[in-house]
Symmetry: C2
DNA sequence: ATCCTTGTTTCTATCAGCAGAAACATATAA
DNA sequence: TTATATGTTTCTGCTGATAGAAACAAGGAT
């Protein structure tokens, strides 16, 4: 099997949150992982209609980084968008 | 929930290989994803006891990148090592 | 129309990961 | 012991993602 599909397969089979986290910490550097967390947080806030400049100020990041997230969410077929909705609905249920 | 755990949760809940792949393509750049694929491939080859200089030559990468993979696999508690074993066993079964 | 808010794009400089190369460490064989 | 193969570390320069800043575009409110 190609390395690409194989790695995706590994992720698909990982069901435990702790396992996923440990695996990510092993194959990504601390900075890469922090960047990834920030991207997710940024996508959440964009989806919640928080102004881009507010997000930039809150996290101390530049607008070019945010524009990128914005482009992802504009795509109607975006799976990130679906996953965000799922996550945010769950959070609102918890309140 | 913290963005960190939340993102890990998203990965843990993704069961379909195609979905994982699409999600990765959305939140990672093409280069970041290629790097990640290469890291996995490199880890596989290290685990198969292929000499580091052979791996470096085959993929056109430097040794410093390989040393890093080597360090991951030296850790007895490494989940990457467990996942590699699982993957390689499956591949040998297929033959 | 004018102003203000927000989204988007572009420019230069910075930083982390890594290439390329060399040196160093260790072990095994001759 | 000496030579060879392999693993590891270190150094300088390069590259891609992005910070910081500015400019541009599009609406909405007055």
């Amino acid at each position: 099997m190609k390395a690409q599909k194989e790695l995706m397969q590994v992720f698909a089979e990982l069901d435990d949150v702790e396992d996923v986290e440990q695996f990510c910490r092993e194959i990504l550097t601390a900075k890469e992982l922090d960047d990834l967390y920030l991207r997710w947080q940024l996508l959440k806030e964009l989806h919640q209609k928080i102004p881009q400049r507010t997000i930039a100020a809150n996290h101390g990041i530049s607008l070019c980084k945010i524009t990128r997230g914005s482009k992802i969410l504009k795509d109607k077929g975006s799976i990130t968008l679906k996953l965000l909705k799922k996550t945010l609905e769950r959070e609102s249920d918890e309140q």
